[in-house]
Symmetry: C2
Subunit: 333 residues, 2 copies
């Protein structure tokens, strides 16, 4: 199976390359009968137009670059899927580049992408903290998940503050009043923002955190377990725990279970991330907050398309998260 060129098709159909081109591209000024001949010739040779050559002329490669900083991270993948999906039906293909959090490698990839004449770039960070802007580039760029530090760039982020509010709101609606918050590394803006949202929402009902403080620590099950043990010792009357991630929530559930404290009847638990392998399989299945990352990716692709079509945007757009109700929370009866 070798590669037929338009010339081959034209020759086989007995027309000029120009006519063949027009016939194949559905231009009107070509006799139906001629078009038919060309199309058949193309099929016969299984002709496939060389997009590179087309791009040379149209000044559009029909490709975009997806620059991620950690592929294995569970956050980049859904975004990446959403973006790939939104472009998919179009005629744009996606170059995947993983910089592994290394600035050098990122520069390297950037160079390669630009020389491949990508029409645009999506940059997806590993964590929702602000990252360095790539600066001015000959193609439009959209930052997803991790916002750029340059307000002239367009950044798309999830609403972590809103997520914290939403979690607490749900627990309050379940009749809980003594709510604790166990979360991860305080160096992450995600941890800070979720905590802030939680505290704000509590305040609206005249409440404070059970135990008085946010339990910052690490994004791990082990920390969830450790913090829960300390919490139970210090504040045994707690009736709900908002965990900053599903991993932490698993640790929380584990200790609760061990202590024979019933979930949700005595203590309700809510997680964050909706990482299904963790949230869907726990005992009981975990109520949690979904970041809508796939949607974020889809929007990123749309914004990028718009920018490529000459309608650029700037600033930070924040997207809402949503509550996934499972069985680890329920109204107090």
């Amino acid at each position: 199976m070798s590669r037929a060129t338009l010339r081959d098709v034209a020759k086989l159909a007995g027309v000029s390359v120009a006519t063949a081109s027009k016939a194949l591209n559905g231009q009107p000024q070509v006799r139906a009968q001629t078009r038919e001949r060309v199309v058949r010739a193309a099929e016969q040779l299984s002709f496939s137009p060389n997009t590179l050559a087309q791009g040379l002329i149209t000044q559009r490669s029909g490709t975009v670059g997806l620059l991620t900083s950690d592929l294995e991270g569970r956050f980049s993948i859904p975004i990446l899927m959403g973006a790939e999906d939104a472009f998919g039906s179009d005629q744009t293909s996606v170059f995947l580049c993983d910089a592994r959090g290394d600035a050098i490698r990122e520069k390297h990839h950037l160079r390669a992408l630009l020389s491949r004449r990508v029409d645009g770039l999506i940059v997806v960070g590993a964590r929702p903290d602000t990252r360095l802007s790539l600066g001015e580039l000959p193609v439009p760029v959209v930052y997803a998940y991790a916002p750029s530090d340059d307000p002239a760039d367009l950044s798309l982020v999830t609403d972590n503050v809103g997520g914290g509010r939403l979690a607490i709101d749900h627990l309050i609606r379940c009749g809980r009043r003594r709510i604790a918050h166990i979360t991860g590394d305080p160096g992450y803006s995600a941890a800070q923002d979720r905590a802030r949202g939680a505290v704000e929402r509590l305040a609206e009902d005249g409440l404070g955190l059970a135990g008085g403080e946010v339990w910052f620590g690490m994004w791990s099950e082990a920390w969830g377990r450790g913090a829960t043990r300390m919490l139970l010792e210090r504040t045994p009357e707690v009736d709900a725990i908002f965990a900053g991630s599903d991993e932490i929530a698993r640790g929380v559930l584990d200790v609760l279970h061990e202590e024979r404290i019933e979930v949700p009847s005595r203590v309700a638990v809510i997680g964050f991330d909706n990482w299904s392998v963790l949230a869907g399989n726990s005992r009981p299945p975990l109520t949690t907050i979904d970041l809508n990352l796939e949607h974020l990716g889809r929007i990123a692709a749309q914004r990028l398309s718009a920018a490529m079509d000459g309608e650029p945007a700037a600033g930070v757009e924040t997207f809402p998260v949503r509550l996934i109700t499972r069985e680890s929370t329920a109204p107090l009866r």
Copy 2:
């Protein structure tokens, strides 16, 4: 930041495009002084050669397609990372395409990739069962994880039988003799192969499975819990459990913990996949089998490069898995 062409560089340097080209590409027949001028001009204009145009001439696009059937699956990602890693980002860029297990979409992507003149293709399946060959293509193809049904294709797979053997071997070395096997959907060749390896290895020591049968079911924690309960009822003397996945292993550990059966002192548990969020965070941390998928991806890239350089290969290559020892297994004392 617009786009300088080689002509612009040549003009600025006061030479012809041919000379500029030679100067930039390190050809010897150009005076050092001239080269210097050209290079400076290129830098000044931040010139970046148009890879598409180069590809038109060299008949090589410097791109490969990565056709995956499920991105969210935890198996494609490491392979994809390995492959992306192995292609030096300067030489080769990777087009990512997710067919979502849909044959139509796959055809669609394939068409697009070929018209983009990719130099090669890596096809990575979602599960290790045989998949349909893409047939004869104008570029080399390597199948990774899921082998092609056509022996003329090159397929790279992990050794699931060997994995089963390895797991049992480890348990036997720990002094266990009453070993049960709880695994997932029997419709997966992975489940069958791992079970076969396990049974074979047991037989070498004159042993059979504790309880007599493999416990096939589903790839979930819930099944791991359910099966373990039934197992303990029917075969309480079991001293080790080989779980077909880390998810299942988590369920196993959960019930063992609930029943106050000590791990590993009374029952050892080994998982499969080394999915770190599950295996690394369990109580105790889980001994498991790592599929070396990143390595598989790296090899896939190498084989593809070789094929692109005119050294094709065919058949199925099977790659060894490896034991990750954590704390859920230990010698019986």
